[in-house]
Each structure stands twice: as structure tokens, then as C-alpha cells.
């Protein structure tokens, strides 16, 4: 892989305080992730993989060290700048889909675009394109409860893509899906990676990890390979 790194992590440490006990979730991690990579983060529960993903995605902050994503040091951005940065640069896919139940598939995908200056016609074009990409253009008026788990996750992926972010982070996106739907979702993520987007996925499942272009393992907050 010769592409420039989109994520540069140096001596990254994250310590959680639980009462009087300090728990080290990440311990002096060094990592580079190249643009267009499909990186899978593996490891047992409590190994720190989700914490690492959260810091890269800008929804958590490191205790020390640097996490530079697209030339922005996450630790140095204030709350508001970080929110803007997330909106423009990161697409999120969660294990439990996290769609808004009162909004249709179309409206869920449109949600991140409400923060932009785009008019409704431009928003419609982007939403339709994103839903087309995940094969759900014909389900755009359905509410989440009217969709299957796999379809819900595809809507969530469309929501992650609609702002055309360079980075897509997925926290166990197949954890709540059967193997058929899981394969669909992983294929979509691999397609995204092929199209130039950087995909970082946390998973427990070696089969899912096999879809990635690189896999790293964490244990007790440290990179083991």
C-alpha cells in the first residue's frame, strides 16, 4: 500500500477512571492507516478496539498521545469544531444500527445533510444515490421497524455515506445480523474501500475480518500484531 496515511496515531494512551481505579484502555499505541484501506480491528472484549475506533472517529479523546486524522489532531479540536469535522469527514455504522425510529429510511439518511447548506433538491439527489448504492432505493419511505435487520444496517451505511466522508468507521456492523445479511453488509463495506474510502471496522468475527485489506489485533490495550 503506497497511499498516504489518513490516520496517524502516536503513543496514544486512553485511561478511564472507574471510581478510584484507573483502567488503561489503550497503552502507547502507534498506528498508521492509509487512505483507501479496509482495516479491521480485532481482539477480545475489553481489549480497547472500540475505544481506538471512537478516538479515530472523534467521539472520544485520548488521555495522551496524538491521533491525527486528515491532518487534524483530534485532541486539539474543540467540541464544536470536532462536531463539524465528524459531519464532514466521518461516516458511522453501529452494531445496533441506531436509526431514528420515527423517521423513514429516506429521512434517516438525510439527517446528516440537515447540517449542511444544501437545498432540498440537492439533498434528495444525494440521499437517493446513497440508498441506490446500498440497494434500498425502493424502500426509502419505510420506517426502520418495517425493514429487516440487514436492510436497517444498509440504511445506516447509506446514512454514513451520504455526506461523502473519506473515513467510514463501523463498530461490529454485522454483530446483530445473520450470515446472509452480514455478507451483504461486508460486501458493501469492501466496495466502499475499493472506491477509495478508508473503512475501519471493529469485529470479533474472523470471517468478517477476512473482508479487510489489513487486520490488527489488540489485547489489553496494546497492539499485538
Amino acid at each position: 500500500m503506497t497511499a498516504a496515511p489518513i490516520v496517524q496515531i502516536r503513543q496514544l494512551t486512553k485511561i478511564f477512571q472507574q471510581g478510584e481505579i484507573n483502567v488503561t484502555a489503550l497503552d502507547s499505541i502507534d498506528l498508521e492507516i492509509n487512505s483507501g484501506e479496509f482495516l479491521t480491528l480485532m481482539g477480545p472484549s475489553g481489549s480497547g478496539k472500540s475505544t481506538l475506533l471512537h478516538i479515530i472517529a472523534g467521539i472520544d479523546r485520548p488521555t495522551s498521545g496524538d491521533c491525527i486524522v486528515q491532518e487534524y489532531n483530534i485532541a486539539e479540536l474543540d467540541e464544536s469544531a470536532l462536531a463539524d469535522w465528524r459531519n464532514q469527514n466521518v461516516g458511522f455504522v453501529f452494531q445496533t444500527f441506531n436509526l431514528i425510529p420515527v423517521l423513514s429510511a429516506y429521512e434517516n439518511v438525510e439527517l446528516p445533510l440537515l447540517l449542511t447548506q444544501l437545498n432540498s433538491r440537492e439533498r434528495r439527489r444525494l440521499v437517493t444515490t446513497a440508498l441506490d448504492l446500498v440497494g434500498l432505493a425502493d424502500r426509502m419511505k419505510h420506517l426502520p421497524k418495517q425493514l429487516s435487520g440487514g436492510q436497517e444496517q444498509r440504511v445506516a451505511i447509506a446514512r454514513a455515506l451520504v455526506t461523502d466522508p473519506r473515513l467510514v468507521v463501523a463498530d461490529e456492523p454485522t454483530g446483530n445480523l445473520d450470515s446472509h445479511y452480514a455478507t451483504e453488509v461486508l460486501e458493501i463495506l469492501r466496495t466502499l474501500s475499493s472506491s477509495g474510502k478508508t473503512v475501519i471496522m471493529v469485529t470479533h468475527d474472523p470471517k468478517a475480518a477476512a473482508y479487510g485489506s489489513r487486520s490488527i489485533h489488540l489485547e489489553k490495550g496494546e497492539l499485538v500484531r
Binding site: 472517529a57 467521539i59 465528524r86 431514528i100 420515527v102
Partner: protein
């Protein structure tokens, strides 16, 4: 989809809870408006057109103590006095009622137009009343309530005086601020009582508003150090004195208003807190997608404010419509006049309470959401 559309969908996502919240706000605001209208009625009683010229003269010792008839010619000669009538509260019960909702007064019929000019009635009925000593005139509200006709018998059983009145209706009047009262001849009462030589009060009509203070002073001075000292005051001051006797009622109503607002705030805050608590995860997702703290705060505020606004429209709109159609006199057993209305000031107070509710009930959930980290929020209900 628009941001307002998103807020509306969120506000009514749990339709039953939203409906119950709106109804509780509506019912409480309606109750608040009713209480404020009643309070306003006590604090600012309605005035007749001629009330600025009228002077009430009562016994200085007590409203219940009578005044001697011999005072009449003395008052009549006082400069600035244009007209004068005796007015004696009878306090009888009609038709076997244990508590009659209208008041009855003995007066001098020839002075009705001069002293209480707002009371409008056909000339022939007025003349018939003046001509018949045992007749009476009845306010339009009372006539309507009992479906009365001219010529009907109108018996009143005395509760204060040891006599009963056997009256015949000579006519009906309307146009005063309280068209419930019944007026009869003072002379008829005097006869039944064996001419005691006393009346309840004197009511004076001054020649002009400028002369009112002077007339009051002269009337008070005329009977100073006599066996029946008087207290003359404007009709307005008399009403306020009368109302001040109900100070506890005013305090009670004011206290109930405060409790209503407080309870309403608790209900709304509780509803909003519940609504937000079950959406912590969603709000965290919104944060992750790039929505900022102040935008989420605005969502919650708008949602809470919207529910309060709908409650305000339903509650205050409903009660204003009820004011136009409900006979409050009948509903309150005569405690209140037939018609009440919410003034712009009262509607404004209710609107302020609704706005306050919207803000107060959204504060706690909005603050907790703004403090919550995205990661912690996403862990909720995991």
C-alpha cells in the same frame, strides 16, 4: 425533511404521552385562567358607566348597622348632590330556596333613573313599578334563570328581617354590571316592619366627577359626632372595602394559582425528562453525526415549547370559548356574575406561564444531554 418537521415527529413519537402532556397543560392553564379571572373579578370589580359619580353612604360603625331616615333631607340639601335614594339589602330567599343567588334591595323607585341610569327598562314597566307599592323590577339574568314574566308573583322569604315580601313583577331591567338584582319599594318594607325609621344605606349621584370628593367630605362632616355617623365613599372604594372582607378568598385563589403552576411545571418537566431519557442513545447518534450541543438543546427546547404551546392554545382557547357560553352565575350558585371574560393581561400571563413551562421543563434534560459524551450515550441500553 426539515428541522421543524424532525422536531414535530419527535414531539409526537409517543402519541399517548404527548396527548396526555398537552391535555395536562391545557387543563392546568384553563384552570389558571379561570382562577385569574375570578381573582381579577375580586380585585378589579366591573364598574358601571355612572359609578364614577356615585357615592355610597353607610353607617360608620358597620355595614350591617342601619341609618336613620332623617338623614335624607340633610343629604339632599348638600351642594353637589344631584340625586339620592335609600338602598336596603333585604337578603331574602326565593321560592323555598335555601340560598338565593341574587340580591334584593328596597329603594326609592323614582330615583332609579337618576342614580342607577345604566339600568335600562321600558318606560311603561318603570311607571308600573313606581305606581304599585308591592311590585318589583327584576334583572334580566334572574328573569332568564327563572323564566319570569311581567305580572308573575315574586315572593321573598326574609332571612335578615322578620317579614316576607309578596311582590309582583312590574318589569325587567338590564344594562348594569350585575343584572341579577331585584329592586322593590323601600316603603313596602318600611310598612311591613312598622316604619322603623331606618334604611340600610344612602346612594348619592353627584352632579359631576369633580364634585365627588367635596360631596363625600360634606356628607361625612354633616353627621360627624351624631348618633349615626356615616362613612361616605365612592362606589369604587365601597366595592373594594366590601371585597377586602374576602381577603382570605383572594389569598386562597392566589395560592391555588401558584400550586397549579408549580404542579404543571413538575408534570411537564417529568414528561420531557422521560421523553428525553428514552432517547439518550438517539441524541448521542445525532451528536456523532455532527449535531452540536446547542442544536440538540434547541431541539429539546422547541419540542417542549411546542407541547406547551399546543396545550396553551387548547386550554386557553377552550376556556375563552367557555366564557362566552357558560353561565358562571348558575355554575357558581350566584357567587360570580353571569358572564366572565379573560382580559388580554390574563391571557398574557397564561402565555408567559406556557413559555416558562417550555423552558423550565426542557432545561434539565437539555443540560444532561449536552453533558453526556457520545460514547456514554451510545452505551445506553446496550
Amino acid at each position: 425533511m426539515t428541522i421543524p418537521g424532525f422536531i414535530i415527529k419527535n414531539a409526537f413519537r409517543n402519541k399517548r404521552r404527548a396527548a396526555l402532556c398537552v391535555l395536562s397543560v391545557a387543563a392546568s392553564l384553563a384552570l389558571l385562567v379561570i382562577l385569574l379571572v375570578i381573582l381579577d373579578f375580586f380585585v378589579n370589580p366591573p364598574e358601571d358607566v355612572g359609578s364614577s359619580l356615585r357615592i355610597a353612604v353607610r353607617n360608620k360603625v358597620s355595614l350591617a348597622a342601619p341609618l336613620p331616615v332623617r338623614q335624607r333631607p340633610i343629604i339632599a340639601k348638600i351642594p353637589g348632590v344631584e340625586a339620592l335614594t335609600a338602598l336596603t339589602y333585604f337578603g331574602g330567599n326565593y321560592h323555598g330556596e335555601s340560598s338565593t343567588y341574587f340580591a334584593q334591595f328596597g329603594m326609592e323607585p323614582s330615583q332609579l333613573e337618576a342614580v342607577f341610569g345604566e339600568a335600562k327598562m321600558p318606560r311603561d314597566q318603570l311607571e308600573a313599578w313606581m305606581a304599585n307599592r308591592t311590585s318589583c323590577i327584576v334583572g334580566a339574568d334572574t328573569a332568564k334563570r327563572y323564566n319570569l314574566k311581567v305580572g308573575d308573583k315574586f315572593p321573598l322569604v326574609g332571612t335578615i328581617y322578620p317579614v316576607d315580601l309578596d311582590l309582583t313583577i312590574a318589569g325587567f331591567y338590564k344594562g348594569t354590571t350585575d343584572d341579577r338584582n331585584v329592586f322593590f319599594h323601600q316603603k313596602y318594607l318600611d310598612e311591613l316592619l312598622g316604619d322603623p325609621g331606618t334604611v340600610g344605606m344612602w346612594w348619592i349621584k353627584a352632579r359631576s366627577a369633580e364634585e365627588v370628593p367635596g360631596v363625600i367630605d360634606r356628607v361625612n362632616a354633616a353627621f360627624a359626632n351624631s348618633s349615626a355617623e356615616v362613612l361616605a365613599e365612592t362606589e369604587r372604594a365601597f366595592q373594594m372595602d366590601f371585597i377586602s372582607m374576602m381577603a382570605n378568598v383572594k389569598s386562597l385563589i392566589a395560592s391555588i394559582c401558584s400550586v397549579v403552576v408549580f404542579a404543571l411545571a413538575l408534570v411537564s418537566a417529568s414528561t420531557m425528562s422521560m421523553a428525553i431519557r428514552e432517547r439518550i442513545r438517539e441524541l448521542s447518534v445525532l451528536k456523532a453525526l455532527g449535531f452540536r450541543r446547542h442544536e440538540l438543546f434547541a431541539f429539546i427546547l422547541a419540542e417542549s415549547f411546542g407541547l406547551a404551546a399546543v396545550g396553551f392554545i387548547l386550554g386557553v382557547g377552550g376556556i375563552c370559548a367557555a366564557f362566552a357560553s357558560v353561565d358562571f352565575s348558575a355554575a357558581s350558585g350566584g357567587f360570580l356574575p353571569s358572564s366572565l371574560s379573560a382580559t388580554p393581561r390574563i391571557i398574557g400571563i397564561a402565555a408567559l406561564v406556557a413559555v416558562g413551562l417550555g423552558i423550565i421543563s426542557s432545561l434539565a434534560p437539555a443540560l444532561s444531554v449536552s453533558r453526556l459524551s457520545v460514547v456514554d450515550g451510545l452505551k445506553t441500553l446496550d
